[in-house]
Amino acid sequence: MATSKKKAIRNVFFNTSFYVGLNNPSDSLHTRATKILRKLGTFDHNSFTSNFVFLEAITVISQKIGRNIAIDFYEKAIQSVREIKIDLELEERTWSIFKSIQNKDVSYVDCSILAVIEEFRIDTLVTFDKHFDKFQKDFSFQLLGLE
């Protein structure tokens, strides 16, 4: 039987779907989000996200859950996560990844996450987006949230 070998979790990147699920207790993925956090709370690691992820998460949380909840989330999250700014260099890599992917459902922000994974040696991506599955091998990361 083939088994996939799990890497050690060292550098963890959180994407929009995780943050949104966490901020919405009535979301079908909320319990899964809290289980992931319980697991991550038991060992040392580094947590990362990006300004693009915050841009999406804050907007959707504000529009669909509540503006004050979005504000509270950002002010809490920013204190303990390393926010990577998508700068000119990362944006150039993002654009090159975007052009190389044919699937229309993979967004520009998704491509920016792949650029960050590559650049910052992220080993674990926390997400509920299924389309990241097919990039695991090429970008050398594992997923947390889709199991």
Binding site: V12, N23, N24, S28, L37, S80, D129
Partner: protein, 93 residues
């Protein structure tokens, strides 16, 4: 430190602004570019090698507290929101 010669190509506009900045800072173009590359690599290195080993654990703890608070406040939103971010954000939902 042993130096090695290399060639880089920059967009014309960037080259003009880089030369201007080098002049303002009293550096040669080569020095300014080398300094910028070093700064970028140091920054990236710092980001990767976290000085605070508990930073990730702290993030998990902070977010758990937030989730608990939201549950206690009976916060609600669409049950399929996290699995449909793009349609909700960009207009299909």
């Amino acid at each position: 430190m042993e130096m090695q010669k290399t060639t880089i190509r920059l967009p014309k506009k960037l080259l003009v602004t880089t030369k201007k900045q080098a002049l303002e800072e009293g550096l040669s173009l080569q020095e300014l570019i080398a300094q910028s590359i070093r700064l970028r690599l140091d920054h990236k290195d710092l980001m990767i090698k976290a000085n605070e080993p508990n930073q990730g654990r702290q993030h998990a703890t902070d977010l758990m507290k937030l989730a608990k608070k939201l549950t206690e406040a009976n916060t609600t939103g669409p049950s399929d929101l996290a699995s449909n971010i793009d349609p909700y954000l960009y207009g299909n939902k």
